[in-house]
Amino acid sequence: MNQDIFVVIEHLRGQVADISFIMLAAARSLAQGAGGQVVGVLLGHNAQDLANNLSADRVDYIDHPTLAEFSSDAYILALTEIISKAKPKAVLFGNTSIGSDVASVLSVKLGLPLVSSCIHFSPDGKFTSQIFGGKIMTEGTLPEPSALATMIPGGIKPEEGQSAQPPALNPLSIEALDDLRVKLVNYIEPEVSDVDISTESILISVGRGVQTEDNIELAEELADLLGGVVCSSRPIVDQGWLPTSRMVGKSGKKVKPNLYLALGISGAPEHIEGISDCENIIAVNTDPTAPIFDIAKYGAEVDMLDLLEVLIEEIEEAKEG
């Protein structure tokens, strides 16, 4: 039994997921308070380089051919051994397609309590969780002596869990991982047709305020600079200025980007329906009474076209400089 905080590193096809860094940063606070270490747990095959920028005191690394790709069975077998041997104070998993496949199963297998959807831990062992899609928060203390927790992003930036110095790599071996009941057959790449705005993380949305079809190009320029995609409210699609696949709202798509920039959109209920889950809505409309300002996080009463021109200029300069 120890006061270490273990973090199950999530990686897919050679890339470490952001949630892994976020968990490492969160673990740091817990470990300091408990007087233990932050230990990254990396499972893979020929994957040791993935540990290079993890901010951890050490990384326990298991290399095995059956761990080359994620399989819930393989991870559960490996982690059962690791966790029952080490008995750390806490093990953190991402609340993701990888972490969620294994955390609950391990909770039952190991008889350890599990706390879901944490966004923060404090040095004295308290967790903060977000449920109901963020509408409700809970606070409690991580059960002693050992607990599992899943994490979702919530304020901690990935950079906080990254390190310039590679951590100490601690190779471990475990018993054979055969007779897996879950095996990867192959990957299917996403279709390259028109964008699916419901999965995009940066959306530049235009409404009537864009005035003409040509002006949409300005929005496209901004979208390109930010790595986002242009979408719109219904009237723009009705005009034929954008395809239906770009429509946000009741008759179109529901979106949940990291940033939703609403330009010249009044915020009729039919449109709001499509963005009700968006956390960061920034609205620009010359009408101060536009209902969009009731649900946006930030707003500005300037003309969207004037703003676009200036924004594009400023961002281009910033990128060059």
């Binding site: 005009q239 008759s251 009729a268």
Partner: protein
Amino acid sequence: MAYTTVPKSSTFSETFYSSLFDVTDGERIRTCLQCATCSGACPYGYLMDYPPGKMIGLLRANRFEQVLETDTVWMCVSCYACTEFCPKKIPLTPGLLTRAKEELLLAGSIPNELQDALENSQRYGNPLGESPRKRADWAEDIEPEIVIMRKTKRPVDVLWFVGDYPSYHPRVQNSARAMAKIFQALNVDFGILGPEENSDGDSQRLAGESGLFEVLAEKNGKVFEKYQFNEIITTDPHAYNAFKNEYPKLGIEYPVRHYTEFLADHLDELKTLLQENGSTRITYHDPCYLGRANNVYDQPRAVIETLPGVEFVEMSHTRSNSLCCGGGGGGMWLDGFQWEKAHARLSEWRVREAVKVGADILAVACPYEAPRFEDATKTVKGAEDLIVKDITELLVDAFVTN
């Protein structure tokens, strides 16, 4: 998701045809002349693979399944134009189109928007998916406080059935507030059901969900029974149609009037409340369910004419000839689906007519219309300055200010 379906039985067409005779006057379908007036009158007829006339042709050929394999049926907005103009008086809307929609619905194939509206109606008593507890929130700031039957528990003269969109849709809540002001100015003893009110269910019925209609009607019926009132007045022609023509079939019968009928009985009193509000040209759009479905044409016009300084003009499609705004009976919830096919909204045609006749104001009397027509003014050339208002709003705008 497929919105069309292949019925599995070989006798489907026959069975379907016979089921039509159960509708009032349904057997008239046997006397169809195949004149195609219905197909011509249908606003989306030109886009249907099988407009109403052809549907009957296929029924006679025992091949109705073919119709259901296309998306024809979901292009129908239940505007009653076909029914109105059929020389043989075949009840096409209730007796053919609604039944066809019902078949598709029973097979589980319906457009997403419609599915949401129906599921919301079932869960929350309104198609918008809003909390039933908030149904009377629109009335919060009204002074004096509006009587909500459950709280006040006393008999009233008029039970005002507000309706889904006037209760919840921000644009239409304005006309609800206007109606309240008018009732108060006329010293009408009225009350509303507030959170106890459920959707009247008529548009859901026309979209093919007769089961849902019955559930909603039963709920409303039980609530009506709890209270004492002399008549129901409603701001919603769909509710009007339901209470007048459909609820009695379920044993729920009360005297009911549309607000324009009520106001038409109080013209003199109304005039004393109004002052000139600038001279304007007003045209009026006959709602499908007030006009064609229930023959209420004169009363709304009489009410509009009480407005001083107003020049009243008719659009080219008027009275029984009116062009549906697209909301119809369930059309409100087929909007996305129909837009994909038509790339034209019925509301835009109507707004063009209003512009053509030089109107400053397009007056409406149905809750579906204000949002639909206002959206259309944004995209129709020359319509940027056209104002769309419910008759209640026009009246309140012209109230004498002391």
